[in-house]
Amino acid sequence: MELKVVEAQIEAILFTMGEAVELERIAGATNQDPETTRKIIHNMMDRYGEEERGIHIIELDGAYQLCTKPQMYEIIIKLTHIPKKHVLTDVLLETLSIIAYKQPITKLQIEQIRGVKSDHAVNKLVEYNLVCELGRMEVPGRPILFGTTEEFLRSFGLQSLDALPIINPEKVEDFKLEAEEEMQLKLDI
């Protein structure tokens, strides 16, 4: 087999495995004898080292691993420190309002109200520190109960949750009547 192809295979193996892979396993997968494989890998190591590359191959006790070069550490820090843009999407707003008014509430209950899986939205709100875990519900499975944080109250200048605007029970009644009338209309046609 052509040398270049074997090199590509070794690169792919080390990339996918992530961890250190023993020489014998690499040799077995690429159908080369171990000694040849070792030479090929060392040849690759030299090239990775010489060239301006971000990654290189290191040897660990007869095993090989791909990793970033130490001098790249700074750039990774820089990347992870770039502030991400955060926005409250409709999905997040909706989920937040349900949690604010219905707390303590489980993920399942939120999903029942919204009609769709809401894991992602709840996790994001937790990440944004607007929502937190309040404990667990004492039913089978012990699901987590969610509620709003102090940060949430502070942001809205609320002293406590009691200060949240209230949904008027009469309003709900109105909605019901409205819906009934609409339905009646449809039936009358």
């Binding site: 990774i76 820090i77 992870t80 420190h81 990440e127 942001s155 605007p165």
Partner: protein, 258 residues
């Protein structure tokens, strides 16, 4: 008919219709409604589906076909300006659109096969970097959000919930769920135990009428083991479990720790 017909599973009414058109090798633009309608109704008759919802979707399509069929039998009204629209037009359009997506989904399937051969690597971010969490500026995040708006959003969700309740059907009577009396079942198992002393767990479960009864019986057995009134033995893995009733009387459920 007497001929066993193996029905294929159709995803929906359009799927069945496409199959019939395909089977008869006819042009989708020129569906012979009479033939297709008859075959369609035939299929529905043979269909064994317990789901009313699925069945009703097929029936709606059947009704549409019958409707088209009847409209085609009637003489087209003479209008001067408009050209009479073929009643099959809308159906053909829907069928074509559906057929397109069936075709596309096959294409996507191939793409997925190809793409699944590329392998990715999980992130290997050094722990100390991964641990870094920038503070989310909650103030900026909520800058456009007022309490009134939050309230409004919640209200519209509540309204949606209310809308979902069908005011007509919600007033219909309910189908009562069967009532399995836990206490009675608990006593019953013990009576059975007093009488038989050693009995098969499997037989006991098989004697139950419903899933709910099986569950309650199982719970009862667990409780009786816990309070030491029965013991169970099993010869081999997956063998039947033999229950031995140890007590000489019956306890009420209140005395047990349910």
């Amino acid at each position: 008919m007497g001929i066993p017909v193996k029905l294929e599973a159709f995803e929906g009414p359009l799927d069945l219709l496409l199959h019939l058109i395909d089977k008869n090798k006819i042009n989708i633009y020129d569906i012979p409604i009479v033939v297709i309608t008859e075959q369609y109704l035939d299929y529905i008759r043979q269909m064994e589906t317990k789901s009313l919802e699925i069945m009703s979707e097929f029936l709606v399509m059947a009704a549409t076909l019958v409707n088209i069929k009847s409209r085609m039998l009637l003489p087209a009204p003479e209008t001067e300006e408009e050209e009479a629209v073929d009643p099959r037009q809308e159906l053909v359009e829907r069928l074509l659109e559906y057929k397109m997506y069936k075709y596309i989904s096959e294409e996507l399937k191939d793409k997925q096969m190809d793409a699944s051969r590329a392998l990715f690597k999980p992130p290997t971010i050094p722990q100390e970097i991964a641990d870094y969490r920038e503070d989310v500026d909650v103030g900026a995040l909520l800058s456009d959000l007022t309490l009134a708006k939050l309230h409004e959003i919640f209200r519209s969700i509540v309204k949606k919930q209310v809308d979902k309740i069908d005011p007509i059907r919600s007033k219909f009577g309910k189908i009562e769920k069967e009532d399995v009396n836990l206490a009675a079942k608990f006593a019953q198992i013990q009576e059975y135990g007093l009488e038989h002393r050693r009995f098969s767990f499997r037989n006991l479960l098989e004697a139950q009428m419903s899933k709910m009864e099986v569950i309650v019986t199982f719970l009862g057995i667990l409780e009786l083991i816990k309070i030491g009134r029965i013991k169970i033995t099993q010869e081999c893995l997956f063998d039947d479990i033999i229950i031995t009733y140890l007590a000489n009387d019956i306890v009420q459920m209140e005395e047990a720790s349910f």
